[in-house]
């Protein structure tokens, strides 16, 4: 699976998520990940992305492996609806990932991942994505203060 992450200073759009202020942790950026209810439940319980599962699941695929996320909730909803509306794994779900902005910037700088890459031929103007490859997900999981929660229906 490939991965797309969008920063809080991404191209302006109606759904771009501004950094959230938290007195104990500073500012956060928020991303949404469209997946199945089971995977979402697991991600929230473990407060991390299950890298082993992702690796074993995607190892036979020819496309890049990683994790898709977007600052646009509608994009994540679309992905989860399209891929899981059949009900497999409990059906569609959205995981909200809040990441301390400063720590995320450090992670991006140290990992060398590209951020704010425009979606090729985006259906909605302003859509950007960032690919965080599988071999960077351990670092992503270990970002200090990262929080995973299930977004309501």
């Amino acid at each position: 699976m490939a991965c797309a992450v969008v920063l809080n200073n991404a191209a302006p759009s109606a759904e771009s998520v501004a950094a959230i202020s938290d007195s104990s942790q500073g500012e956060y950026v928020t991303f949404y990940h469209g997946t199945s209810a089971y995977m979402a439940d697991e991600m929230v319980t473990n407060q991390s992305v299950n890298i082993d599962r992702l690796a074993s699941y995607q190892s036979s695929k020819s496309f890049d492996s990683g994790l898709y996320m977007s600052s646009q909730e509608s994009t994540a909803n679309y992905y989860s609806d399209l891929l899981f509306n059949g009900g497999q794994g409990g059906g569609p779900a959205i995981v909200q990932i809040d990441v301390p902005a400063e720590s995320f910037n450090d992670f991006v700088n140290s990992s060398g991942i590209s951020v704010e890459t425009p979606v090729p031929h985006p259906p909605v103007p302003g859509q950007t994505e960032t690919f965080v490859p599988l071999n960077q997900l351990n670092g992503f999981n270990n970002i200090n203060g990262i929080r995973f929660s299930v977004k309501g229906n």
């Binding site: 439940d41 319980t45 496309f63 609806d81 509306n85 009900g87 409990g90 059906g91 259906p123 229906n153």
Partner: protein
Amino acid sequence: MATEWLDMPVTAISEDDRYPDSDTRHIYEHLLFQCSLPREFPLPAIKARVLDGKVVVTSGHKFLRIAKDLKHPTIRVILDRGDAVSFSLPVGARPIAREDLQRETEVAVVRQHQAFFFEEPLSLEEQKEFEVEIGGFFDRLRTPLIDANQRRLLSVSFPFEGSCAVLEALVPVGDHSWPESYRKACQRFSSGVKKIVSFVGARFA
């Protein structure tokens, strides 16, 4: 305490004013129709918690109502017992093995029905365009998960006098490289031919 995954009789689950339906994304009648189409897997799971000795839905109200309307005997429930650790599960409730759920999420290709509802009925010409541009997308799609020579689009129909389109296709849900292109094709149809109101029961944006 970790959440429990259960297959539970729909009659054992109720709604409560303290947990109203906050879902404005789905259109009930469209979602009901989508859920009435043939499917390989059960309806999406709802979330529930134990409240005053009863199982109360907290998220996924529409899927619970649909399960009742379609007379499904059970529905998948992600149950949060909260403080009610001694709560006895309703008769007929049974746990779902996590291995089964895990296996389902690893299914790479799904035979899927997708219902589109439009602002106005499609003309015959527009139906033809839908078949080519949206339905034909899956036959044109290059994916490592389905043999290139295999037909992916299985059927297209236009019920409700053309106000709706239903396509049946082999969808490579394990390949995440194409959904954006598909969305673009749908967007193009919605803005250039006929506005799409909903896709698989959810408002289309």
